[in-house]
């Protein structure tokens, strides 16, 4: 089962199989960095901005991920499986401050 290296903006990285979501991959290894919420695309707290890499995404609540977000790679880590090595910036609400400096200025306010 192929796995890929996922690197967060704080420099941490972990290996995630392509059969697991980015969030489950992180949790399974006891890693932290992306806030963990419902894990099923509903609550929006695990939002990440994909800076590099390919992925497959499942349906995510439009309450938190607009079509523009999705097109711009702002997605929920719980609904995304990696297709290659990836670089992520965490923008989810419970850890909003992690990388505010590089957060795109056009990110709409997300509610949880």
């Amino acid at each position: 089962m192929p796995s890929h290296t996922i690197t967060l903006s704080d420099g941490q990285s972990y290996r995630c199989p392509d059969s697991e979501s980015l969030l489950r991959g992180m949790e399974t290894l006891g890693k932290k960095g992306i806030p963990v919420g419902c894990r099923n695309g509903g609550c929006g707290v695990c939002m990440v901005h994909v800076l590099e890499g390919t992925y497959v995404a499942r349906a995510m609540s439009r309450e938190h991920v607009s079509e523009q977000d999705e097109a711009a790679g702002r997605v929920l880590a719980c609904r995304v499986r990696p297709g290659s090595d990836m670089q992520l910036c965490v923008i989810g609400k419970m850890k909003k401050s992690v990388c505010r400096a590089v957060e795109p200025s056009d990110v709409p306010p997300h509610s949880t």
């Binding site: 099923n40 349906a59 995510m60 609540s61 509610s111 949880t112």
Partner: protein, 308 residues
């Protein structure tokens, strides 16, 4: 006081992101019985032990959350009476026609000050629980899934929980069972209300956004059944939030977990009986952790932040 007005939570309509996946979850993992589908694509479920046609209704949508929760009232006269009382109180009510929800009579729908949509209804077809009304057997928990006894209560998040409490108490006859105070010792962070002798039929937490769902709960018969539910969740790789553990508030045993769209559910057992002459229990801010999660004795971030 006999229970003569609002009886119990009767139905909750949840929004799901993928209907096929959700039907499989509510059937195979929760062990609910699918009882129908309507023209708009909604899918209806009940627990095996519930007699009324449906208690959980799923609607496919692009966002998760709760559409509405409906409380069953004693009869049509009670429904009319409560509708009049709501209007007299200044609440705008709307009549949803009989049959709009399958096998369900006319519903009185209104918004509470926290932005949630609440319904009252008197009629829902008794399709039975597999036992007869004459000389029944015992319903043994067997077969696949968790198989809860009933949809038991919900916890809603919103701004004006004081206004909501006043409405539930003064118009609908609910009683305050427990409350958690904020740091100021005066403001309620959370309230637990009952319309029956259950420790809660509805709970509310003060929150910056209106209309949010924290969880819909299902009752189980024992702590052993809660542990069995946890095993079933792991077998099915269900996303568990916390538990099995116990709440200090209501004293119920619990697991919080999520449906495939991220709606939080609870499998819940226990809780004490509440009668209208009992004084409400008050929890101070310093003890809120133990109140919510009795064994961990601390609030987790998800309890206050993860909602649909």
């Amino acid at each position: 006081m006999a229970i003569t007005g609002v009886l119990r939570p009767g139905h909750a309509q949840l929004r799901v992101l993928d209907m096929d996946e959700s039907v499989k979850f509510y059937t195979d993992v929760m062990g609910l019985v699918e009882t129908g589908r309507d023209a708009s694509g909604r899918v209806y479920f009940k627990t095996r032990a519930e007699r009324d046609h449906n208690s959980i209704v799923l609607r496919q949508a692009d966002r998760a959350g709760l559409d509405f929760i409906g409380y069953k009232v004693l009869n049509q006269a009670t429904l009319e009476d409560l509708d009049s009382k709501l209007k007299a109180y200044g609440v705008v009510t709307e009549r949803m026609p009989a049959g709009d929800l399958l096998e369900t009579g006319e519903r009185v729908r209104f918004q509470i000050p926290t932005g949630h949509t609440i319904e009252l209804f008197a009629e829902k077809t008794d399709v039975g629980n597999g036992m007869t009304y004459n000389d029944p057997e015992v319903d043994v928990i067997d077969g696949k899934g968790i198989r809860p006894i009933r949809m038991d209560h919900a916890l809603l998040y919103g701004g004006d929980i004081d206004g909501a409490r006043k409405l539930f108490e003064e118009v609908l006859g609910f009683n305050l069972v427990e409350r958690v105070k904020l740091e100021d010792g005066a403001t309620d962070l959370a309230i637990w209300l009952t319309c029956s002798t259950k420790a809660h039929d509805l709970a509310m937490v003060r929150h910056s956004e209106d209309g949010k769902l924290h969880h819909v709960a299902f009752q189980l018969a024992s702590w052993e059944q809660v542990l069995r539910a946890a095993d079933i969740m792991s077998i099915n790789r269900v996303s568990i939030d916390i538990g099995p553990t116990r709440h200090g508030i209501t004293q119920g045993t619990t697991i919080y977990f999520f449906d495939p769209s991220g709606n939080r559910l609870e499998t819940f057992c226990g809780g004490y009986d509440h009668y209208p002459d009992n004084h409400p229990i008050t929890w101070s801010w310093e003890h809120v952790g133990r109140g919510i999660f009795y064994h961990d004795r601390k609030l987790n971030e998800a309890f206050l932040s993860v909602l649909t």
